[in-house]
Symmetry: C2
Subunit: 223 residues, 2 copies
DNA sequence: TTGCATTTCAAACAGTTGTATGAAACTATC
DNA sequence: GATAGTTTCATACAACTGTTTGAAATGCAA
């Protein structure tokens, strides 16, 4: 049980490389080169490549979920058991968007790794991923409490669309920048968060008594 | 220039396998087995694996774009140069959703292949993909004509979110079904199309007459 | 048929991948 | 400082990848 230094630097190097280049074209040899350790170290410390990926994913998954749930719980406590829907949605998509967009130097390797995992879905991860469903159910619960007269189906679709907009915007941020010739500023993360939350809120409250916060972000460009 | 039969069955087999299992784990040997041809036939007829993928993608890309643009053009002609925004959005996301969701037996291999291509983004495809931008610009143009007092930025974001919801729903259709315990019926394709179009339309038309509260304010308030 | 080009085929090739091995280097305990 | 246990290392291995080869089969014009 000695220094753990090798183990740790393998994990860090692997996460960085996977976040940057995806699972598809990162080999064990790339990882050990980045970590400055011997090739055999991976199998010695983790058993196999798949187990390394799995450990990486499980660790990050737990951390991410805890972060999101903390934000959610805080909001619900402040609201006496019910949080406004836009605050719930912000807790859901905010951390990921903030970790993956914005200026290069303050992007989070962890968030980018998790997005890769959610996109590429390599076998070792797919097996674990089902737990994420239980996690999403907690958000479903909060959304139900926030919008008690919305049907379940509407809630599910709202959550689906919120995640859709967040993830897709991250994945295709380059293309959106190019398409809009820079007019869409993906570096203004809070603006992006506000847009996603606003649209998702509209999707969830449409045809109801007008909500209070939504649509404010959109007004920004309306001039 | 003989029968082309080998060539054709390679293309068909490759498209089917890629659509089903993704580019990541389909080898040339898988393809030639599925197509009942010799291994060397791929390199003989296409030069390389990458060129096979590229040909597949270019062909489908042209066909898909033509289909979408035809729907768009028809709508604009009927409206005297301006089509309603929801009709435009429907032309954008309808064909893909219809081809990828719904009952198994009537799903389109072509549509599923294109979704794979849009997800995995393997090198030979990434190189070609930039043309798609020009194609999207035509939709941007139609949207501008439909909503002349909307700013460009909002149009871009609206398009981005529409594609986001459509693609994400296709990719994660299984998970949404499981999460909602079957309450979200992904086989009712027209319902899905209507939902995506409806939310995207709201995103593009909401809050037209609004104040100019900067987006940052919303971010601060939400704590 | 003969001759020539196209197409198919089995086999081999060179490169890369994840993994295994066994010896060497280290670390800590006595 | 000798010993036992852990960790590192260079190297080898077996499996798989896309690609090439050269001979066999086929098609087709003369």
């Amino acid at each position: 049980m000695a220094s753990d230094q090798t183990r740790t630097s393998i994990l860090a190097a692997a996460e960085r490389l996977y976040a940057d280049r995806g699972f598809g074209d990162v080999t064990l040899r790339d990882i050990v080169a980045e970590a400055n350790v011997n090739l055999a170290a991976v199998n010695y410390h983790f058993g196999s490549k798949d187990e390394l990926i799995a450990e990486l994913f499980v660790t990050r998954s737990i951390a991410t979920n805890r972060e999101r749930l903390h934000e959610l719980k805080t909001a619900e406590e402040q609201g006496g058991g019910r949080a406004p829907i836009d605050v719930i949605l912000r807790a859901l998509v905010g951390p990921t968007l903030r970790g993956c967009l914005g200026p290069q130097n303050q992007r989070s390797t962890a968030a980018r790794f998790m997005i890769r995992a959610s996109i590429e879905s390599v076998p070792p991860i797919r097996r674990i991923k089902n737990r994420e469903i239980d996690h999403l159910r907690k958000f479903i619960g909060a959304m139900r409490r926030s919008l008690p007269d919305r049907s379940d189906v509407e809630i599910y679709w709202g959550l689906n669309f919120a995640l859709a907009m967040a993830h897709h915007t991250i994945r295709e941020s380059e293309r959106l920048t190019k398409l809009s010739e820079g007019k869409c500023d993906l570096d203004d993360v809070e603006d992006v968060v506000a847009r996603v939350v606003s649209v998702a809120t509209m999707a969830l409250t449409a045809g109801k008594i007008e909500a209070k916060t939504p649509a404010r972000a959109l007004a920004r460009d309306a001039r």
